[in-house]
Assembly symmetry: C3
């Protein structure tokens, strides 16, 4: 008899747990425990008119007051840049790439350096095959800033998460290296 | 003895529930009960050649038959506009913004006014810090239309949901105000 | 007495299952069993300077060395194309469309044909009303390639999944037909 009451109680607890966590769309998972984590770097060399050969990105859209071989003022606002950047595991531009970061960024602020990113990291190494897709706006001058991971394919099938970006190096207007801390919170 | 049968039965029910709702990817949550809801407005003043100072958006791409200070015909099809728009809690353009809507829209239809949006709402108020990322195509002339919320950061960490857009005001070609009903169905 | 131990054991099993599958963000669902599947085709006729009437897409951004009525070299890298393409259930361009594919693609590689897609499939047929939003980078010359489904509205409310693309036809530079195998793994 006691056991029947116990069952009923446990069952009620289970229903309450599942109701609060699933039925209302709230999840009580831990932000500090991604199901997968990966730190990589990518390197961007902007085409400035004379470096067609070794540049990895190019301005393809600009506001009326801008053009495609110089940076728009102020804050590059309105410049749209397509890129095909190497991804490396360390800071060295010349290390063997583990993949390519392919997509675009668009400078979106009139009052600071901010950039919208739509990009796919396409991995093609012995360790990882597949892609991770990113979307979000980031404030270039902040130390760390987060964008969304909206999906993935291959090894990263259906992934979701957060990427924390840090500017790891910056040279004049035509080279930057970003450190990308990839944290997946939904893994399949 | 009866209790063991009861346990088995309850256990079976649980497995069936979890199988239908989780294992097959179907969720039986309620569309009418977002886990978070927020209504805001954003204001867009298009650069038309002479309003560099107070405009909040600018055409950065256009089809061969268009240009960057006039609207392409028909239906602005092919115009790509970068924006840095203030977000307010009421309809007043001059209210203190609670954040910025930064991203771009692209007119995508030859036969009606339709716009693709890739945008981040970056909140920076006492109430909200963090960003919400949107993606989707919307038919400007419809009363209400929905786009996707694909992710978020900060207070909106890992959010997913739907944004319902309504054109709240429209003045000639260079000002519009959108009402955005943000409904999150996945909250963390 | 035995039944109480049994209950405890079953309860423990349940907690372990829910912990490993939900608490850590890992899902043990089956990649081979989408909750919804749909195969469609879309047709793209690029504007090349003289086909304004029947073209369904137009270049709206290009690198400094390109222009809007010819393809950039090499590999169209940097060309940004807005499109308003018909979606059909069969391979015939002239079949009654079940919707429109509206968005843009951007060629993202200096060394092969690769394209970033941001697009919404807007369905408007007796069978389907609503939209599916896609994002991702794809290698045009590969037989099959996957991009992400990041969200949906209407009949596809809150959907997530994978779209497998195949080039079904290709004529010179101004027509292609893509087969899109839409596989949703999160349905509401």
């Amino acid at each position: 008899m006691a056991s029947l009451k116990t069952i009923s109680f446990l069952f009620l607890v289970l229903i309450l747990i599942s109701d609060s966590s699933t039925a209302l769309g709230k999840r009580i998972r831990d932000r500090n425990k991604p199901c997968k984590r990966l730190v990589v770097y990518f390197h961007d060399i902007l085409f400035t008119g004379k470096n067609a050969q070794n540049s990895t990105s190019a301005t393809v859209g600009a506001p009326a007051w801008g053009n495609k071989t110089a940076l728009a003022n102020p804050f590059r606002y309105g410049d749209l840049v397509a890129f095909d950047d190497p991804i490396t595991l360390d800071k060295n531009l010349h290390s063997t790439p583990v993949g390519r970061a392919q997509g675009f960024y668009l400078y979106t602020s009139k009052s600071t350096l901010a950039a919208w990113f739509s990009v796919s990291f396409v991995f093609n190494s012995t360790e990882h095959k597949g892609s991770i897709n990113f979307a979000g706006n980031e404030y270039v001058l902040q130390n760390t800033r987060d964008i969304s991971i909206t999906g993935g394919t291959g090894d990263f099938f259906m992934a979701r998460g957060i990427a924390s970006l840090m500017t790891d190096a910056y040279e004049k207007t035509d080279y930057f290296r970003l450190r990308v801390d990839i944290k997946l919170y939904e893994c399949w």
